[in-house]
């Protein structure tokens, strides 16, 4: 059941009606059942993994509460890490490490034939394992008290708006919301929530799905495409993945708002970033914060020497790349971003807090364009089917390859980019994702109409799954 499906259009209102008729405890029970139905609609067999992860993290939390002995606490905490990373490692990385590892060893003259299990990837596994681990991390570090309610914890892990593609929740912020009574949203909040859902559908259907065939065409047959077509392909992918993922996050946040739960922002106008450092403060914020708090800072962050900071940055970004997918291309994508971050720290004097400064067209446009192009270079590795494919793609652009250029693709990219830049610019200026709902009613109605018409036009085509469902 995806957010842009008719099933979800029936499922959400039904859950909302029942939800607000119930008191808190049954509300959580309803949310849990609804979340398992939502997840089971993808593949019910993987519900067992969700239950294992949930029960492990809950039990670890309770056990951590009962002891102060540091060594024992460490061992208990390690159980959570082993179970979550074990599930993730087996289902997501087993075949990658056996196939790529075997190839690597073969280069060294060691020939092995480990089994390739062709394991199905459970939807959202990277999200809910990180979600649960944030809880055990926080309990282990004594940042939060463990919850005594399995029901509340299970709802926190499985909460359907964020279960399969985030934002990755933080126990510190979210768990208390499931433990207290919720007040039904007032009309202004409902309006904001509905707007977020509408905007999310627009981004997914009218931007991401609309650009998908052009991206597939450029990356599917790069040797026949001109360098202009290839550039259009990668720029289109930049907007496709942004529309796809931020659209999902908007719908998730809007749906959660209607349930009286506030989810963290996951995107903050990332293509207005003036540096790659700033990009990571604005792109997939819940993942970058997770990696910062549970990996980069424990590794030492920027508290050591310059060299250690660079190492920590590179390690964090490489692991961030690997989190996205079991493929060398994702590792290179993460590595490239790591290199960009290191280079910015080493060779520029951009202050760390520069991202808080208001964006200015005259002053920041050039840096924004350069940052966008750097991000796009990395996107080529993210989207290409293989490392060689990505290198050929970039090489064909660099050699100004002759070939076909799809003029529809150029025009549609221009329209999509204009729409996304407009929406982001308004949000950036207002520092509010739902800024439009405060506009003059006439303009607001016009805006709603302009979002709905493209949704009507671009819905009902070949279904394009949300990109981040693969991760």
């Amino acid at each position: 059941m995806t957010f842009n499906s008719l099933q979800y259009a029936a499922f959400l209102p039904l859950v909302l009606i029942l939800y607000w008729l119930l008191p808190r405890r049954p509300q959580n029970l309803l949310l849990l059942v609804a979340s398992y139905i939502f997840y089971g609609a993808f593949d019910w067999r993987f519900l067992a993994l969700l239950w294992i992860s949930t029960l492990t993290d809950y039990t670890v939390g309770r056990l951590l509460e009962r002891t102060d002995a540091p060594r024992l606490r460490k061992r208990i905490f390690a159980v959570s890490l082993c179970v979550n990373l074990g599930i993730l490692g087996f289902f997501k990385y087993f075949d990658f490490f056996t196939s790529d590892g075997t190839r690597f060893l073969a280069h060294l003259g060691i020939h092995l034939a480990p089994p390739v299990l062709k394991i199905l990837l459970p939807v959202g596994i990277s999200f809910y394992t990180f979600h649960g681990m944030s809880y055990t991390f926080d309990v282990y570090r004594r940042d939060i008290e463990p919850t005594h309610s399995l029901l509340n914890f299970a709802v926190f892990v499985a909460f359907f708006p964020q279960l399969v593609a985030g934002p990755i929740g933080r126990a510190q912020l979210q768990l208390p919301q499931f433990e207290r009574d919720r007040i039904p949203p007032d009309w202004a909040e409902v309006r904001r929530a509905l707007f977020l859902i509408l905007l999310g559908l627009f981004k997914k259907i009218a931007i991401a799905d609309m650009l998908a065939p052009y991206v597939n065409s450029a990356f599917g047959s790069p040797s026949k495409t001109s360098f202009v077509g290839l550039l259009v392909g990668v720029w289109a992918f930049a907007f496709q993945i942004y529309g796809d993922f931020s659209g999902y996050s908007d719908i998730a946040r809007g749906s959660a708002f209607l349930l009286g739960i506030e989810l963290p922002e996951n995107f903050n106008q990332p293509y207005f970033s003036r540096s790659v450092t700033e990009f990571w403060r604005r792109w997939h914020i819940s993942l970058s914060n997770w990696l910062r708090d549970y990996l980069y800072i424990p590794l030492g962050g920027n508290r050591g020497t310059e060299g250690q900071t660079y190492r920590n940055l590179m390690l964090t970004m490489l692991i961030g790349g690997l989190w996205h997918g079991a493929a060398t291309t994702f590792v290179i994508w993460g590595g490239l971003h790591g290199l960009f971050l290191v280079a910015e720290r080493r060779f520029t004097d951009i202050p760390l807090e520069d991202w808080r400064r208001p964006w200015s067209l005259r002053r920041d446009l050039l840096r924004t364009v350069i940052t966008f192009q750097l991000v796009c270079v990395a996107w080529v590795f993210f989207r290409a089917p293989s490392t060689n494919g990505a290198l050929h793609y970039l090489s064909d652009i660099a050699h100004l390859q002759h070939g076909t250029t799809d003029h529809n693709a150029v025009a549609m990219l221009a329209l999509a980019a204009a729409a996304m830049v407009f929406v982001d610019y308004v949000q950036l200026r207002a520092r509010d994702h739902a800024a439009f709902v405060d506009w003059n009613p006439l303009v607001r109605g016009f805006m709603y109409g302009c979002l709905i018409v493209p949704i009507v036009i671009f819905s009902g085509g070949t279904p394009v799954p949300f990109i981040y469902f693969r991760f």
Binding site: L6, N408, P441, G449, I457
Partner: protein, 325 residues
């Protein structure tokens, strides 16, 4: 709430009117598995809404699609309203479902002429991946057949009343429609497919050469045998029509000697098919016509009649239909 909702509705109305204003310049939208099915469904709906009676319906695959010319039949003295509801590229299960669930309930013909050839009796023609599966998966087909879900029927309703919704496929490519490679023939107002009318026959010495032109039919002859399932579907179709009081005329479509030779067992295979057709017609109380093998000058390729062939076919069919009336 009032003003924004009102303005939103006005924007939607303006978009709807804009599409209505330019729709004649847009490609015909296709909610059906093929553009031809869409066009024929639209023609049938148009006949129904304008209360145009239809006495005779021609059904079959691309052979009847190209050969059945209602205008020529009328000129040859068939004084009845005729519509060609044949569908190119489709196989027996789809033809049967389309005929019984869509065509007959809407047009209420007195006579149905079924035109098929040996390829439709071979089990190889029943590959669900290429035929009935796509038809069954089509929301429009399900809604039109009366087997649609609430969503299918809502989709059909929106397609009927909103041009913005109906033409959205075309609107997705405002700067030029992509080439789809899908067979999209020009039809006459009475449903005849004109794709083969102006073509002259070229010699095809091998199935491989012919396959380049009529891939579906030649492939459907692979390992030829008379399939019991095919026989059952055809017999079911003819019996159902007969039980509704509709006269059935079955035509074993005229073919080239080349097509006969493309059967793995040659002429004996083709004769087996003809014998099966005769048997099916007898069991269903249907009349049968067997024009046989015609010269290649009448054909656009090993399978489809060209204009000369269509004229000849109309002259062949007209007396049989005059008899039916």
């Amino acid at each position: 709430m009032g003003v924004p909702v009102l303005v939103t509705l006005i924007v939607l109305l303006v978009a709807e009117l804009a599409v209505r204003a330019v729709h004649s310049h847009l490609p015909v939208p296709s909610a059906w598995p093929s553009p031809e099915l869409q066009k024929k469904y639209d023609q049938i709906e148009s006949r129904v809404s304008s209360h145009q009676s239809t006495d005779v319906v021609l059904v079959g695959d691309s052979m009847m699609d190209a050969a059945g010319d209602p205008g020529a039949l009328n000129a040859d003295g068939v004084n009845q309203s005729i519509y060609n509801a044949s569908i190119a590229g489709e196989t027996l299960p789809t033809i049967a479902q389309w005929t019984m669930k869509v065509v007959v309930p809407r047009l209420h013909p007195k006579v149905v002429v079924i035109g098929l050839s040996s390829n439709e009796l071979n089990p190889a023609s029943l590959d669900p991946a290429t035929g009935i599966a796509a038809y069954d998966a089509s929301r429009a087909a399900r809604a039109a057949s009366g087997t649609g879900s609430v969503v299918d029927n809502a989709d059909a309703f929106l397609r009927k009343w909103s041009y913005l919704y109906r033409y959205r496929n075309s609107l997705r490519h405002p700067f030029g429609q992509p080439a789809t490679g899908v067979f999209n023939p020009t039809l006459t107002a009475t449903g005849r497919d004109l794709a083969f009318a102006d073509k002259q026959y070229l010699q095809y010495n091998t199935p491989a050469q012919a396959r380049q032109v009529v891939v579906g039919v030649i492939d459907a002859l692979a390992g030829f045998t008379v399939g019991p399932k095919n026989v059952a579907i055809l017999q079911g179709l003819m019996t159902s029509l007969h039980s509704q009081g509709i006269q059935v005329l079955f035509v074993v479509m005229p073919v080239t000697a080349d097509l006969v030779s493309f059967h793995p067992g040659g002429a004996p295979d083709y004769q087996k098919a003809v014998a099966a057709f005769i048997s099916i017609a007898q069991h269903s109380d249907a009349r049968i016509a067997i024009p046989g093998i015609w010269p290649t000058t009448q054909f656009a390729d090993p399978v489809h009649l060209n204009q000369a062939g269509t004229t000849e076919f109309s002259q062949y069919l007209a007396p049989l239909l005059r008899g039916a009336s």
